[in-house]
Every structure is written in C-alpha cells, then in structure tokens.
C-alpha cells in the first residue's frame, strides 16, 4: 500500500501539488492515508470530464495514463475545466492594437484629403490645413464623447516620425538656384528676425505678466523668454501647406519658406538655453556667450552632419546599378540617419536634413535609374503629404484633448504682440536688406512676407515637451500657443489667397524651363563671371563658378558612376527634357506632336565616331522570308517550355514602356511604308504586324544594340530594371553590330541607362504590343528565337532591339 501510494505520488507530482494541504500535513504517513482519497477524488474528477478517461481502480493503471490529461485539470484548483472546442474564430485586439490604430489614423488622414478634393467648392475658399484642423477637432470631440481619452500629439512622434518626411521633401526638391541667390536675405530673416521676435515677445509678455494680475505674476523673465522663443519661429509645415495652394512667385515663396527652415537652428538654441536657465533668475554673461557660440555649433554642425551623410549617400548610389529596386531606400535612410544623428547631438536636425538632401541630389540623380527617381519623388510627396495631414488633424485632436488654462490677458496679448513683432521685424529688416539687394523687395513683398509668418505644430510640440514640474504654467502656454496657431492658420491662411489676388502679387509661372532658357542662363552665368573677373569683383558668380569647377574636377569623378561624370549640365538637362517629352508623347498617344527635329536628330549618340545616319534596311527577298518563317517554326517548339521566371528583385516591364515601344514601332512602320516598295509575297497588312517587322529586323544583320563605349546618354532610355523585356528599346543607337560589326563590349558604364537582360527568361508582358494578333504569347517567344541564332549573341548582350527609325 505504501509503495503503491508513493508510486502514486511520484507518478503524479502534480496531483500532489494540487493538494498542498496534504503536503503541509507533513508526514508521508498522513499523505499515504490521504493518497487513496486523493486518487478517489481525482478519479471522480476525471469521470466528470466529458469523454474523460475511466480510471481503473488499480492505481498502477493510473500511472499509465498520460500525465498530460491530469495536467488539464490542474489549472482549476480542484474545479473541473470544461474542454473547449477548437476556436475557429477568435478576437485578439490587444495583439494588433497599436499598428491598427496607427493605420486607422493614417487612413482617416488620407480619406480626408480625398474628401476635400471632392468638395472642391469648400477647398477653394478654405485652405486644406484649416479643414484638417476642424476635422481633428471633430474627431477629438467624438472620441471624448465616447468616453475615451483622445490621443495627444506626442512630441516624440511628431519630431521623429511626422516632421522628417516633410522637411526631406522640401530639402530634396529645394530650388537651389533661387535659394542660394537669396541666401543672405533668408539668413537675415531667419536668424535676426527670429531673435528679434523671441526677445521682443518675451520681453513684452514679461511686462504684461508683471502688470497682468495675480495669475501671471509668478512667471519669470526667462520663462517668458522661453515662451517667446517657442512661439516666434515661423513653421515650415504651415507655410508649405498654405503657400502651396496660392502659387505665389518663386522669390517670395523661397524667402518665407527658406526662413522657416533655417530658423530651426535659432529655435533649438534659444529653447535649450532658456529651458536650462529658466529656473535661475540670473543669467551671466558667460551663458550668453556660450549661447551665442552654441548657435554656430548647432547650425553649422547640423549642416556638416547633413553634408557628410549626403556625400556618403551619393557615393553609395554610385554602386547601386545592380540593385536598382532599393535605390530609393538609400536616399531615405541616409537622410533620416542624418536627421537622427543631428538630433542625437542636439544639433539642428532640420538643417542636417536639408543639407543632406541638397548635397546628395545632383549626384544621386545622375546615378540612379529613372524609375528610382520617380519612386523617390512620389514616396517623398506621399509621405510628406500624409504627414502634413496627420499633423493638422492631431493639432485639432490635441486641442480637444489637452488641458487648457485660459487666461484672457495672456492669450490676447500674445496674439497681438506676435503680429506686431512680425510686422516690425519684417519692415526693419527689409529696409536693411534692400541696401544690399539688386532686386529690391517692394512693400507688397514685405506685406506677404510678414503675413506669411505662420506658426504651427513645431511650436506646439516644443511647448508640450516642457517639463511640467519646472514649468507649471505649461498649460497656459499651450493654450496661448494653440490660439496663435489657430489664428495664423485660420485667419491668415484663409485670407492670404484673396489678398494675394487683391494686391496683384506676381504668381508663379507654371511653365517648364525651356532649353533656350537653360542655354541662355548658362551663357549669362559665364558672361557675368567674366565681367566680374574683369572688374576684379569677387561676387556671387565668381564663387559659384569656382564651386562648379571644383565640383566638376574632383567631386563628380568620385561620386558619379561611370561616364556620366563627364556629362555637362546642359546635356543632362537636354536629355531630361527629351525624356519628359517622350513620356508625355506616349501618354497623349499621339505622334504628330513631335517636332521633326527631335525625331530626326535625337537618335544621334554622342560618340565622336561617325555613324551612318540612315539606317539601312535591306529589302527581304522571297527566300529569305521563307527562311525566316522556317526558323520561326522550328524554334517555336524549343521555347514553348520556357516559363517566365518570377524574380522579386527585378521589375517587370511596365505598360508605359510597352506603349512607348509600340509607338516607336508604329512610327518606324510609317516611315518604312513610305520608303519601301511592297514586299513581294507578304500581303500588305502583314507588313504592319509588329511580329513581322521584328522578324524583319531580327534577321537583319545590322542588328541594333546600344553602342558600347559611347559615353552617353541615349536620349531616351528605358530603365534597366526590366531586363526581360526585349521590346525595350535603346532608341538612339543605331550602331551596326553583329556579323561584321563592332564587337560589343561590356557595358558596365552604361548600366545606369541601358537595357540588359540578365536572365534568359522569357520576356515581359506583350499584350500592349501586339494588339489584335492572336498569337501574342508566341510572338514574344519568336523574338527570343530571333535573338538566338545571331553569331555573336551572348546572353548578356541582349536581343536585337527594335530600333526607332529615324
């Protein structure tokens, strides 16, 4: 019995644990006495289970039972737990809660954006930012009504996630020419203007606080100065949001916007300075000097960090020719890292971001593919757009959610003095600046600059960051800041558009830059540089010219891959223009708009070697045609087995390229139709079938291929990331290759611009290309066979590209 029960217990350690009472009784003897009872009860328990095991009276049999069954019962201390059915459907919200909510907010933001464009009548009067704040207020109110606590815009989220995309978008696409031309003006507004605003406002508010009654007396000078520095900064997000819609002329846009970007350094320094010292009433001269010094460190350090990251990004992009799909990611990551690194050291993150975008852009654009460029553009626009929307919505929500402390005196005087400070600042500074400007700022300009000094979410977040225990008037500050933000965004934002129209301020000219402008502008640049040199005057042009020379000689060689480093700016511009025009052409679907000169000459490449301008297309004899058909028939068999291999890392040819190629073919067809007599045996309509024309050309010994060592830029290039599409054409090149032709040399240099099929897998979609032909899948295979028999066709050279006619 004893051994049995001990065996029992040893076999069922869990059982024993279930009954601590019995254990606590201590002696085994007692346990032994209990054990049989235990086993009885457990047996009963087990009988209680649905479908439970029947416990055999002999204890030994129990041992055999898997312990696991007993485990099941153990959770309920002695209570039987019913065995659940396997859950087919279950809810586990807490698991996905955070991403779910984030996605909901972003979705809300996007739907709002969509909605505003649907209700276009409202959005013509009210700028989007106002509508978004209203939406935020509503949503916040809703959440509060439901009983939940609406989320406040946390400063971390704002500074780390919402702000960088907007700034990066602005910095990457900064119109550099205007920015540098007006840099002096912008800097003066940003630095001196913001300092003036901060001190003026802070000082006056201190005076108000002293006078203002009991509630305000305890706020010290430094606290007021801190408040002044927070609220005095013009906010880039708000400025962008409002100015984007009024399409003001570029000078004013860059002045206000540049100011809003560059004042970040000042704001950072002032904020930290006053935050540190706000609790000490005394500020020594050393502190002031240190603050002054720290301004330079913050701003120049931020720029330095940005430049470093920009150069690294440019250098990286030099080698990305084999992994085109993640090129955009490099741009984003390096810029974001620049921002974070600057923030790490309390440097100005905004300036780092701008600097990195500005520095990396020319080199990265020369290195990356066209598709990556488009991707970067659209991703930046997308993120910045969503960020902006979210920021405004959250401003609204935070207004509802936050704790407010309304003090009439404080708020109203803040508002008033903000406006006064801004106007005074602009007036005085413009008077000073106009002494040095060639093109003076008119009073109209000054008004717009003053009126465009909008405050926004940065001020809010900075205030929110304040430590509650040191700054117990934080709520009052917050209320005042929100009031100012609302006022500037709503009142100034809404009225600026009619005012711009009323004052007849020059608007932005929407037309694109023509080649004429580009040439003449460069011409004038050279001219002015020369005149400056003659006068011995080392002005703007002189230094710009020096920088350009340095850039061309040393920097471009390091940072731009291959042959493009030698490309003059004019040529790059020209190619970009041609490419744009070609794409537009495809989109519009028409042929007639191309000026004849383009088609005639745009296929020329840059190589100094002379090329035959006229493409020689031999007429096919009857036998040759029969030969072709035989080859096709035979080879069709072989290629039918080839499957299209899916490769996640390369992109499939996209429909626009197909359409472009088709258009190209059509044009060439037309020209051939003019020039050629009818083929003898082939009926007329078949000449026009793309398949046949490809066949014709494929059999052509003068197969066309990208000229290997031209340092060029084919004028229209199709992105290399879609290597499988044989229809992708390298248009400008008509170098005869093949049987007697030039040996195709590896085109590493051209990687950025030239098509190369990487794998012998079957090409991309063909639907656009051969409409109406029933054998479209086979046609693409036919092309593959055409490429195969060529004497020098190595797989990496590519199939005979369909040349663009001339």
């Amino acid at each position: 019995m004893a051994c049995l029960s001990s065996a029992h217990l040893s076999a069922d350690p869990h059982l024993a644990s279930l009954l601590p009472l019995s254990h606590s009784e201590g002696c085994l003897h007692g346990l032994q006495a209990n054990a049989p009872r235990v086993s009885e009860t457990t047996r009963e328990q087990r009988w209680g289970e649905p479908g439970g095991i029947t416990a055999a009276p002999p204890a030994t049999a129990q041992e055999v039972h898997p312990l696991s069954k007993q485990h099941h019962n153990h959770s309920a201390e002695g209570h039987p737990k019913p065995r659940k059915a396997f859950p087919v459907l279950g809810i586990d919200y807490s698991h996905v809660r955070i991403p779910f909510e984030i996605s909901l907010w972003i979705l809300l933001a996007c739907l709002m954006k969509m909605g505003f464009h649907v209700m276009s009548s409202v959005s013509k009067v009210v700028p989007e930012s106002c509508l978004l704040i209203v939406v935020g207020l509503l949503v916040g109110g809703l959440i509060k009504a439901v009983g939940e606590k609406p989320p406040i815009l946390k400063s971390d989220i704002f500074f780390l996630f919402l702000l960088p995309p907007i700034i990066l978008d602005a910095g990457y696409f900064l119109p550099l020419r205007q920015f540098t031309e007006n840099l002096g003006t912008i800097l003066i507004f940003a630095v001196v203007g913001t300092l003036w605003n901060a001190f003026f406002l802070g000082g006056l508010m201190y005076a108000v606080c002293q006078i203002g009654g009991s509630g305000l007396n305890h706020i010290g000078l430094l606290a007021n100065l801190l408040f002044g520095s927070i609220i005095s900064a013009v906010d880039p997000v708000a400025v962008l949001a409002v100015f984007e819609e009024i399409h003001i002329n570029e000078l004013l846009h860059i002045l206000v916007f540049g100011e809003s970007l560059l004042n970040d350094a000042v704001t950072v320094v002032l904020y930290h300075l006053f935050e540190e010292f706000a609790n000490f009433e005394q500020v020594t001269i050393i502190d002031i000097i240190l603050g002054f010094l720290s301004f330079f460190v913050v701003s120049l350090g931020g720029v330095f960090v940005g430049v470093i990251y920009g150069l690294i990004a440019a250098f990286t992009s030099r080698f990305t020719s084999n992994i085109r799909v993640i090129e955009p990611l490099f741009v984003f990551l390096y810029s974001y890292m620049a921002y974070l690194s600057a923030e790490l050291f309390h440097l100005s993150g905004i300036m780092a971001l701008i600097a990195s975008g500005v520095v990396m852009r020319p080199y990265v654009e020369a290195n990356i593919s066209h598709k990556s460029h488009t991707t970067i553009k659209y991703f930046l626009k997308m993120w910045s757009s969503v960020s902006e929307t979210l920021i405004f919505i959250f401003l609204g929500v935070s207004t509802v959610a936050g704790q407010h402390y309304w003090n009439w005196t404080f708020v109203i005087s803040t508002l008033l003095f903000c406006l006064i400070a801004r106007v005074l600042g602009v007036l005085v500074l413009t008077w000073f600046i106009n002494k040095f400007r060639i093109v003076k700022l008119t009073p109209k300009d000054q008004f717009i600059i003053a009126y465009g000094g909008l405050r926004g979410a940065i001020a809010f977040s900075l205030c929110y960051l304040l430590d509650y225990e040191h700054f117990n008037m934080r709520d009052m500050f917050l209320t005042a800041i929100i009031t100012v933000i609302f006022f500037t965004v709503f009142v100034q934002g809404m009225t600026i558009r009619p005012l711009v129209d009323l004052l007849a301020v020059k608007k932005k000219q929407e037309t694109k830059r023509s080649i004429n402008e580009e040439i003449h502008t460069q011409f004038l640049d050279h001219l002015l540089t020369g005149i400056e040199d003659i006068c011995g005057h080392y002005g703007h042009h002189h230094w710009k010219d020096k920088l350009n020379r340095f850039n061309k000689k040393y920097v471009k060689k390091c940072l731009i891959a291959g042959e493009r480093s030698k490309e003059p700016q004019l040529i790059a511009f020209y190619h970009k223009m041609e490419m744009k025009q070609a794409i537009e052409l495809v989109e519009s679907g028409g042929l007639g708009k191309i000026p004849s000169t383009i088609s005639a000459v745009s296929i020329q490449n840059i190589s100094p070697k002379t090329l035959p301008v006229d493409r020689i297309v031999p007429t096919l004899s009857k036998d040759r045609e029969e030969e072709i058909r035989k080859i096709l028939r035979i080879n069709l068999q072989k290629t039918r087995q080839r499957l299209r291999s899916y490769n996640r890392h390369t992109l499939v040819a996209d429909p626009y390229e197909e359409a472009w190629n088709q258009m190209v073919l059509r044009r060439q067809k037309m020209r051939q139709a003019d020039r050629q007599n009818a083929y003898l045996t082939v009926p007329a309509h078949k000449i026009d079938s793309p398949t046949m024309s490809r066949a014709r050309i494929g059999s052509d010994p003068l197969a066309y291929e990208p000229k290997p060592d031209s340092e060029n830029l084919p004028i229209i290039t199709i992105d290399p990331a879609s290597p499988q599409s044989p229809e992708s054409v390298d248009l400008p090149n008509e170098v005869p290759k093949g049987c007697g032709g030039l040996p195709p040399s590896p085109e590493e240099d051209e990687e950025g611009l030239v098509m190369r099929p990487k794998e012998p897998s079957s090409p991309g979609t063909d639907d656009v290309f051969t409409p109406g032909t029933s054998d479209s899948p086979s046609s693409q295979r036919m092309l593959r066979c055409l490429s195969d028999p060529g004497p020098r066709q190595e797989p990496e050279e590519g199939e005979p590209f369909i040349p663009k006619g001339q």
Partner: protein, 195 residues
C-alpha cells in the same frame, strides 16, 4: 599705383562718365584703379593682351568674346570711357531710374540694352540674327569637347525651333527677348558694384 600725370582722372571726365553711365563717383574711382592695374603698358588704354592676362578669363568659355565686346569696331585699344561704357550695361537697375522712363536716351543698363549686349555676344557677324552656326559655336564653347557634333546640332536645332517664330531658322533679337522674358534679367545681368 602711383599717380601718372597723363592718366589721372579729371573731375570733368568723372562727371561725364557719371552722366553717361550712371555710376557713382566712388564706383568710378574704384573702377579706374582697376583699369590702371590692368593697364600694364601704362598708356591709358587697354589692349587685348591686358585682358587676357586675367587668369580666370582664360578659362572662361566665353572669355574671348567678352574681351571683344569691350573693343569697339575694328579697334585694338580701349580707353577708360569705353571700358566704363561696356561695364555700365551691368549696373543694377535702380528704382528711381525706372520712373524717369522716356525722358532721354535709354540708360545703358536698361533691360533691353542688357539683352542687346548679350545678343551681340552670340551674333558675331552682326546680322541681327543668331544663326544655327553661331549657336553651335557658343554651345561648343560651353559644353566642351566630349560631345559629338550631331548631339550639339540637335540641341541647337531644338533651341532655334523653340524660339523661332517667324520661321527663318534663326533667332532674332525680338525672339531672343521673348524667350528670356521669364528670366529675371535685371538680376541676372547685374553686378553689385559696391560703393
């Protein structure tokens, strides 16, 4: 620069230049000292070699043309008056000048005259038209040697085609002005001669 009696600038001269070009007294004096520092031959005039001695001008693609622009037709020497007259084109347009419009002859630094100056640099044969060849020459100078003729030719053709309105395959002055109407010529073609 010691004073050379023959080349000292007399006050009447300064006044005349001031009237003609609109430069201020101090600007004229300063430019005069620059003139004399360039004038190695000390004869009160500058020759082409004097200009070519300026190092940065040698590497400027348009260096030769700019130098030529200083010399009036057929001459090899330019005196200070001529020097100033050419430089006057690059004076910034001031507000008070914009107002007194049609009173006298158009000031040398008006927008139209600035553009005319630039136009003359393109138009070497002075037929009031920028032909394709002239454009090609300028392009070739600006772009360097790596680009093929065909490429440049296509750019030139495109340029002419964009600007040409009367169909003569060349750019006349009026067309030139029209093409540059969006460019802020007043700012681009002005040098801030500090006081």
């Amino acid at each position: 620069m010691g004073s050379r009696a023959s080349t000292l600038l007399r006050d009447e001269e300064i006044e005349e230049i001031k009237k003609e070009t609109g430069f201020s007294h101090s600007q004229i004096t300063r430019l005069y000292s620059r003139f004399t520092s360039l004038d190695k031959g000390e004869n009160g005039t500058l020759s082409r070699e004097d200009f070519q001695r300026i190092p940065e001008l040698a590497i400027n693609p348009l260096g030769d043309r700019i130098i030529n622009a200083f010399f009036p037709e057929g001459e090899d020497q330019v005196n200070f008056r001529g020097f100033m007259r050419t430089l006057a084109h690059f004076r910034p347009i001031e507000d008070n000048e914009k107002s007194k419009d049609q009173n006298g002859p158009e000031p040398l630094n008006s927008r139209s005259n600035k553009l005319h100056f630039a136009f003359r640099l393109y138009d070497l044969d002075k037929d009031d038209k920028i032909s394709r060849d002239e454009l090609l020459q300028v392009l070739r100078m600006m772009v360097g040697v790596n680009i093929s003729d065909e490429q440049l030719g296509s750019i030139a053709d495109r340029t002419i085609q964009e600007a040409d309105q009367d169909g003569d395959c060349a750019i006349s002055f009026a067309e030139f002005v029209k093409v540059l109407e969006k460019v802020d010529v007043e700012q681009k073609m002005s040098i801030r001669f500090l006081h």
